[in-house]
Every structure is written in structure tokens, then in C-alpha cells.
Subunit: 202 residues, 2 copies
């Protein structure tokens, strides 16, 4: 299998953590590639018309995206405890938590595009405020919920960890820990996992 | 169950089509609500911190989002043919097709925000070009693939239909049919389904 990723991408990090947590990393050829919403990447466009990472090419299966699809596919390939619960209330809770984390990341990535990629004269304060409100509301929800996670590190928790790692990486000046002490304590623990250390954004 | 939606939202339309295709619509209280990336919606924020539609409140299960999670949840509640294949290659093909459609919609919605919601002086041509490239590449992929769909109308095809309905609704001046005749013919057929007619954006 071949995975197009970038070390800075939090969505690609989800996939790379899943690959490591499930023991599948050795079978995946990781291709470091650069994507931008305003610069075409012709090689990646041939694999994924959305020109986004992560993208996974699977011999015989074609190409898979987005991160949620790739993570669930990888989870089907290993014999260990599933990262995606198979059915019932636990499944919907896990998928909803993944969607919450992915949504916070969408907002954070859009905020970064607005504040860094877009020419300064074209930036819009209301847009940044709107995305920031989603991030703050999302973090508060994670902070309330994390007490119930125990030592689980399934797809929802993996996504939450990618959120916090991305905020540290791109928005270090906005201290997310101070208003969210429970989440900060949870993150301090999971950040020690080898899968997290091996995929630290840079 | 209570569903927050807006008749203009293509992601909410996915859920409303799934509800109708699975015979579950009568058990869902549809609440028409207005969301904007730059205006808070305090009522919705209490249910979904991402302040996005669709959002589904399920008694006893909590609140579910995003559209992919809600659609798969609804699909678990009915005895008919599943819209999400349960396992194996067919599942990954269906989820990848859903992700392709969702990604085209993400690009189209961002293009609309840029071209309509954002103040004119702050619009950025490169951003619009970048999103347009994703839409065009995605449509070409759908056009190539649709010959293999037969009369299936599962989650991937439902998402593709929402893409095309949204382009008709918001970007009618950009004629997607002319360069994609196979897709146009497929859409002419599925647009006649009662679930599609009942959810036509307005």
C-alpha cells in the first residue's frame, strides 16, 4: 500500500497513528507530498481528484480517501482490538467523536489558510471568529467528555489527540490547556504513546 | 428523533434522502434552521459544538453528526437492503464514493462562501480556482465511474446526486452537464425518485 501524506497534516497523522497502533505500518509506503488549496499537485490529482491528503492506494482495491475511510479500512486488516466498534451505541459514539475531532480540525485548517496562506489584505476577521467559535466549542465538548474515555485509544480518541497535537503545532500561542485541564491531563498521557511520538508534526 | 437541517444544505439533503429511501422519515422531526459560518446559532451550538447541519438528536443515544455518521446510523435502523455495504471491497468502494461526493460538496460550499458570503473586496481568485479544480476533477471521476453503478442508489450514489442537485441550485450558470454526458443521463434518471423530488433544494 502507498500512503500520500505530509508530516504537517493532522488528517494524515490520524491514518499514520492507526497504521502504527494496528501493526500495519511496515506494509505501508509513506510518500511525503506537499498540497496547498491554491497550488495544483498533478501527481496527487491522478490518485485523488480532490487533491487532498491522506490518500491511500491499495493494490487490487483502488485508491481510498478520506482519512475516516482509510482508517476504517486499515482497521479491517488486523486481528487486534478494533479501533472502530462494530455495531450498536458504542459505534455511534465513536464515529460521532471522530466527526467532532475532524470538524475541529476542518475549522483549524481553514483558520490557518485564512491567517497564513491568504494574502493579508484579503483576510476576513468574521471568518476567523466563526472558525474559532467552532474550535472553542469543540474543545469544551472534548474536555467534558474525556473523563469517560478511560484508557481507550480508539478512532475517536486518536482524532482528539490529532486535534490537540495540531493546535500545539500551529496555534501554540493560543493556550488550549489552561481552560481545559481535564483534556490537558488526558493528552499528557496519550502523547507518550510510540504512535504519537513517531508522528509528531514538524 | 429530531433533525436540524436547511433545505439549501446538500449535506442535510443526504440525510433526508436516506430517511426517505429507508422508510424512516415519519419518525424524524425535521427542524428548519439557518446556519452561517460567520453568524452564531446558539440553539444549534448546544446540540453540536461545530454549529453545522445536519445534526440529529436521538433519544437515549445523544446527538449525532456529521452527515456520514447520521446516514450510517439511520441505515442501521431499517430492515431493507443496506445503503452502506457491511464489509469487504464493496464497502470501501461505497465509502470512497461518498467521500468523493462529500469532498466535491466541501469545495462547492467553500466556493459559495467565497463568492457570495465574503465581502467582495476580500475575495481571492486563487482560492476559487483551487476549489473549482477539485470540483472539476471530482465531476470527471463521477462521470467515468457512473456507468458501473447500474440501478444502485446506495450511499455513494445518493451523495453524488446531492452534488449534482447542489450544482444545479447554486452554480446553474456553470453547466456541469455538457462536459459530463454520462453523468447527466444518470442524474436525469435518479432525479425522478420521490426521495429526490421531496428534498429538492430551494
Amino acid at each position: 500500500m502507498r500512503l500520500w501524506y505530509n508530516p504537517a497534516s493532522p488528517f494524515a497523522r490520524k491514518v499514520r497513528i492507526v497504521a502504527r497502533e494496528t501493526g500495519l505500518a511496515e506494509g505501508i509506503d509513506e510518500v511525503n507530498t506537499v498540497v496547498s488549496p491554491v497550488k495544483p499537485n498533478a501527481e496527487l490529482a491522478r490518485e485523488n481528484p480532490l487533491i487532498k491528503i491522506p490518500t491511500l492506494a491499495v493494490p487490487g482495491e483502488g485508491t481510498l480517501y478520506d482519512s475516516a475511510v482509510i482508517c476504517e479500512y486499515l482497521d479491517s486488516l488486523h486481528p487486534g482490538a478494533p479501533l472502530f466498534p462494530g455495531a450498536g451505541a458504542e459505534r455511534w459514539r465513536a464515529l460521532r467523536l471522530q466527526a467532532l475531532g475532524d470538524g475541529i480540525l476542518d475549522a483549524a485548517v481553514l483558520m490557518r489558510y485564512e491567517g497564513v496562506v491568504r494574502p493579508e489584505a484579503l483576510r476576513w476577521g468574521d471568518w476567523i471568529s466563526g472558525q474559532l467559535e467552532k474550535i472553542r466549542g469543540g474543545l469544551s465538548a472534548l474536555d467534558r467528555e474525556c473523563a469517560g474515555w478511560g484508557d481507550r485509544f480508539a478512532i475517536g480518541q486518536i482524532t482528539a489527540a490529532c486535534v490537540l497535537g495540531y493546535l500545539d503545532f500551529r496555534f501554540a500561542e493560543q493556550d488550549w490547556r489552561a481552560p481545559h485541564p481535564a483534556l490537558a491531563q488526558w493528552y499528557a498521557g496519550v502523547a507518550q504513546r510510540p504512535s504519537m511520538k513517531a508522528t509528531l508534526p514538524q
